[in-house]
Amino acid sequence: MSFHPLMAYDRARFQKSERKIADEGPPFVFTPERRAKLDDILTKYPPDKKRSAVLAALYLVQEQVGYVTAGGMRHVAGILDLAPAEVEDVATYYVMFFKEPVGKHVVQVCRTLSCALMGAERVTETLSEKLGIKVGETDASGTFTLLEFECLGACDRAPVIMVNNAQWYECVRPEDVGRLVDDLTASKRDPAFSGCHLKVEA
């Protein structure tokens, strides 16, 4: 995305920055349902503080495209009366927004101290071998992306893995990893793994 909509970025002519330029992505408008959802979220903030909904709007872009695109950010900027650069400024700060296409399953392994003490390094290592990709990479078929994450706030159930920013697996041992990957591939969720929810209900 360019700093200014009328000034297309052309590295050679305008700047020498090594900054990664946001991926344009497909032409973007919110689906009517998502637009309605955003309009509803906007009612929760004072009418002149629409900017407060920017994170929510970016989540909706990501839900629709799979990652946050330049087109999506411009669209959000238009709705919230912001400059596209202001939206990009926010989007690039927060780690839960993907700035480039990711796999269908984004596997995010907690690497911070409590998880590491319980063997998170080995979990990541085993996942990396099983998936044939390094941390930060997406496999050739676009099925898996492997990421390391910082403390997820569930250190008593270390090591913790989060998938697609939402679905949690806990107390994961290296020997569980094969089953986890198979389950994700088959799009089924093994209840024995999941539920950060302290499950007391039947």
Partner: protein, 432 residues
């Protein structure tokens, strides 16, 4: 102690409104709404409740500072960002007892004259947010939130706001920035949020556990609350124990309980055949304590006296298989990754600390690198807008202070000498 905050968490459906109402739910709010807001603040001051988010600042006093003489709206911001490594108590409270937090938010709003409470929940807690939203809708439908609450004429909304992955968003002014739709970076203080907070209006930022303590203060009285712990450290407290213990988890106890009791009785002690090497008592940001320093009450004041901080009460236990250079490097990776970039000492310093630690851990360091760590660390401490800088330098500074020979061994042997069976094999250290 009979648990107060976590009494029912293991009972089926304890998170639902119906269950909550059967167990004194919203009774504290009813009592508080029958009092004048100034009396509510006085009651909280008498109880001695101190903030559970990290700093231990008295909550009643924080509310008293909120500007009243103004036409501007006021806000309660509930800090549900819980990102301090080793901390997972708010997670449990929200999952199993969400209405307690809502009730606390409403009492806070009544006390400071706010009509909205924003709950800023970290983006990763999406499964928790779904529970919160469903329960909040029920509370609205039954008149506990929204218009004319409990028939008293008090109107108050609660809004759940999802963050998107940033540790710094837990710092109170950065949280406000993030709520306003900006990067989570801290503001220069003063002005404090009590004067110019959310949307530049008077605001109070309170931690989830802090707010959850309020209902019981109004149900049982402030003296009861104050009497539950040592002087100035009253009330029930949630402790998170993780790391190399047999039974990690959240434990509710008074602040009379010692760190040793929490680790060896509540959390089941060390893994078989292992002994304790170091303990971080209050989340990764606070100085480590050594095994002989654990016979102190886990209270704000006693842990401070021992040279550390109770912080967020995230107790991380490390046994003798832990390499301290590795531990420091692990935490500096966290701080380098999470530094918001606003202050140069922190942004650059964290990066350098991480690089130097990586070098030493890989066995490629020199002896002077150890002093370099101390020097870089000391050039961050006290030189940043928020407490992040001090927190980030701490793991490097305290590991060098207590475990210098381990750093020296990495340099002289060119490898790590601490045996760990849980480390990855492909890490940049020689095989153990």
């Amino acid at each position: 102690m009979e648990p107060v905050l976590t009494r029912y968490i293991r009972e089926p459906n304890s998170y639902t409104l119906a269950f909550f109402l059967k167990h004194e739910g919203y009774e504290g709010l009813r009592k508080a709404l029958a009092m004048a807001p100034t009396d509510v603040i006085e009651t909280v001051k008498t109880s001695g409740l101190r903030g559970r988010g990290g700093a231990g600042f008295p909550t009643g006093m924080k509310w008293q500072f909120v500007l009243t003489d103004t036409p501007l709206p006021k806000y309660i911001c509930c800090n549900a960002d819980e990102s301090e490594p080793g901390t997972f108590k708010d997670h449990l409270l929200m999952e199993r007892n969400p209405h307690l937090m809502f009730e606390g938010c409403l009492i806070g709003c009544w006390a400071i004259g706010a009509k909205v409470a924003y709950i800023y929940i970290r983006g990763e807690f999406f499964h928790v947010q779904e529970i919160l939203e469903a329960e909040l809708a029920k509370a609205y439908a039954q008149g506990y939130v929204g218009k004319n609450i409990l028939g008293t004429g008090f109107d108050c909304d609660i809004v759940i706001h999802r963050g998107a992955g940033a540790y710094e968003a837990g710092e109170e002014t950065a949280l406000i920035e993030s709520l306003e739709g900006k990067r989570a970076q801290p503001r220069i203080k003063p002005p404090f949020p009590a004067v110019a907070g959310l949307y530049n209006c008077p605001s109070a930022v309170n931690n989830v556990e802090t707010l959850c303590n309020l209902p019981s203060i109004f149900i049982n009285g402030p003296q009861w609350f104050a009497g539950l712990g040592p002087e100035k450290n009253g009330g029930p407290k949630l402790f998170c124990v993780s790391g190399h213990v047999k039974k990690p988890g959240v434990f509710e106890a008074t602040m009379h309980t010692t760190l040793r009791e929490l680790i060896f009785e509540h959390a089941g002690g060390m893994r078989d055949g292992r002994h304790i090497k170091a303990v971080i008592p209050g989340g990764s940001s606070v100085p480590m304590l050594l095994p002989h320093e654990l016979d102190i009450p886990a209270s704000f004041d006693a842990v401070a006296k021992a040279g550390s901080m109770l912080g967020s009460a995230g107790i991380i236990v490390m046994d003798d298989t832990t390499c301290m250079v590795w531990a420091a490097r692990n935490l500096l990776h966290f701080y380098k990754h999470e530094s918001c970039g606003k202050c140069t000492p922190c942004r650059e310093g964290c990066d350098w600390l991480y690089k130097v630690l990586t070098r030493i851990e890989a066995g490629e360091g020199e002896l002077r690198d150890i002093d370099l760590l101390v020097s870089v660390g000391n050039n961050i401490v006290g030189k940043t807008l928020c407490a992040f800088g001090d927190a980030a330098a701490t793991p490097a500074l305290t590991t060098v202070k207590h475990f210098r020979p381990e750093f020296e061994a990495h340099v002289s042997e060119g490898r790590c000498t601490v045996p760990a069976d849980w480390r990855a094999t492909g890490m940049p250290v020689a095989a153990h």
